[in-house]
């Protein structure tokens, strides 16, 4: 369960990136955060995995106040999460395989297990045939799929994705969403920042509407 209580975030005075955001996402939900560009979707996601610290407010993840976790222990929270960044954040001097393997290497899995899981993750995003290519040789959409494979490779209990289908054609976008749905059906909570109305309508169980940093609406499928 992810709970946000009166979260405010300010980068620069006098504008607020987030204003008094409170929300609750239950374990196993497939949730969208939507809104126009600059509405605060990315900021909200970054606050959930504590890349950003809110100016005010509290965040509980499975009952733990993540703002109270010391910096050197934050890795424990992040190992339970899979994150697809808007800018992908790939290691361009490493192969696709190594990029996807990073979350597994940091937890010390055996090379055999790493190979198996990386191959499966890449097959899920239909990129297993480019395992030994380097990211700069891939198209924008392919790079995005590498980022998705890295996010799902460690079977996270929470999957956060910031515009994960932004550069994909509709067919592939649906495929990727299906992968997220599959992970969600295995028990993971999925939170996606997106403004793709078609996908949101098709996949979203719970939708939060953001505008100018404020939650202006919420929809929940029964």
């Amino acid at each position: 369960m992810i709970e946000l209580f009166h979260v405010w975030k300010q980068y620069q005075k006098p504008h607020w990136a987030l204003s008094d955001v409170s929300l609750e996402i239950r374990t196993g939900e497939f949730c969208f955060i939507t809104g126009p560009s600059g509405s605060g979707k990315t900021t909200l996601l970054k606050i959930i995995f504590r890349e950003l610290i809110p100016t005010e407010g509290q965040i509980l993840v499975d009952g733990v106040n993540i703002l109270k976790i010391p910096d050197h222990k934050i890795y424990r929270l992040r190992r339970t999460m899979g994150i697809v960044f808007q800018d992908f954040r790939l290691l361009f001097h490493q192969s696709v395989f190594h990029n996807v393997a990073v979350p597994l290497q940091v937890v010390g899995l055996s090379p055999k297990e790493i190979r198996r899981r990386v191959f499966n993750a890449l097959r899920q995003v239909n990129l297993h045939h480019k395992m030994w290519d380097f990211p700069q040789r891939l198209s924008y959409g392919e790079q995005q799929r590498v980022a998705i494979a890295r996010a799902i490779v460690n079977n996270p209990s929470i999957l956060l994705a910031d515009e994960p289908t932004g550069n994909l054609d509709p067919e592939l976008a649906f495929e990727i969403m299906s992968i997220f749905k599959e992970i969600n059906q295995q028990g993971a909570t999925v939170i996606i920042g997106s403004h793709d109305r078609e996908l949101i309508r098709h996949f979203g169980d719970k939708i939060f509407f953001l505008q100018k940093g404020k939650i202006i609406g919420k929809e929940e499928k029964q």
């Binding site: 995995f49 890349e51 910096d71 050197h72 934050i74 890795y75 424990r76 992040r78 190992r79 999460m81 994150i83 960044f85 954040r89 790939l90 290691l91 001097h93 990073v102 979350p103 290497q105 940091v106 937890v107 010390g108 055996s110 090379p111 890295r150």
Partner: protein
């Protein structure tokens, strides 16, 4: 699992060293150059120390004695001289020895000696001081003590010259410490900045590792190993270039220095100095790397 992770980190460090080989080569060269400057200074300083030792090795004091002293009295004075820790050896020069030495050294003055009815030279003890002793006050104290003994009539020692040597040695040491200190500080800043630039260029990688759940130690270790290797290679490069300079310097530049050649000769580093230089490179590389990474671990 820990060994597996360690092995992974060692491989990651090796891979990073190779992947960023151009940048790392520049780091190695800069570290090498910084330590080369220190090494050259040490080599020059070694030479000055060596020259000082050579000069002090040649220091001798002559105690002139009464001509009428008997053997037991001479023995007593000799034992008093030998009792001093400063003394390496004592040679007795009789009046006859002194006369023949004078004749040999100044043959043109032979006639003057022939006109004299008696031998004008007193017997003496020539005292050779031990190596590595340049404490002037100790020498002066020793001379005064022996001069006060019965039967010792005079003492010959170029105190003025020794005083000059003493103060030159102190100045060289002071300048050495000052310059050495500045150079070491400057090198440390240069090296840590080079390593910092290296780390800065890979700040994205550190961020990604943090965001996928790597511990700070996991992120630090490859950088630490890379810093260690860069520092080690840099200091070895400096030792290698210094070795070549020591060999080549006298051939190409030494001859053009003329009289100053003796002063500006590069004398090889001792094993201990070489090891300190390598240790310095390793410590600077490692510390520079670790402190630079730390600033990116707050994500």
């Amino acid at each position: 699992m820990i060994f597996r992770q360690l092995w992974y980190l060692v491989k990651a460090a090796g891979s990073n060293l190779w992947t960023f080989r151009g940048r790392n080569l520049v780091s190695v060269l800069i570290i090498g150059f910084s330590f080369l400057v220190i090494g050259i200074f040490l080599a020059l300083s070694n030479n000055l120390t060596y020259l000082g030792q050579q000069l002090s090795n040649n220091l001798a004091i002559s105690f002139f004695l009464d001509k009428n002293l008997k053997a037991p009295e001479l023995e007593q004075i000799k034992s008093q001289i030998l009792a001093s820790e400063l003394v390496d050896r004592v040679t007795f020069v009789s009046s006859e020895d002194a006369l023949s030495r004078f004749r040999a050294n100044f043959p043109e003055l032979r006639e003057i000696l022939d006109n004299l009815k008696s031998n004008p030279f007193p017997p003496s003890y020539e005292v050779k001081l031990k190596d590595k002793i340049l404490s002037l006050s100790a020498i002066v104290y020793f001379m005064e003590k022996i001069k006060g003994l019965k039967g010792v009539v005079d003492v010959q020692f170029n105190q003025d010259w020794v005083e000059k040597m003493d103060s030159l040695s102190r100045i060289v040491q002071a300048v050495g410490f000052f310059l050495g200190g500045i150079l070491i500080l400057a090198s440390f800043f240069i090296i840590s900045n080079v390593v910092r630039l290296n780390v800065f260029a890979r700040k994205n990688e550190i961020e990604i590792l943090r965001l996928v759940g790597a511990t700070n130690t996991f992120i630090r270790i490859p950088f630490l190993l890379e810093g260690f290797v860069l520092g080690l290679l840099g200091s070895l490069v400096s030792l290698f270039i210094l070795f070549i300079l020591v060999k080549v310097f006298p051939i190409y530049i030494g001859s053009s220095l003329g009289a100053a050649r003796e002063l500006f000769t590069l004398r090889p580093l001792t094993t201990e100095q070489g090891l300190w230089l390598v240790a310095g490179g390793v410590v600077t590389g490692t510390l520079g790397s670790v402190t630079s990474v730390s600033r990116f671990l707050r994500i």
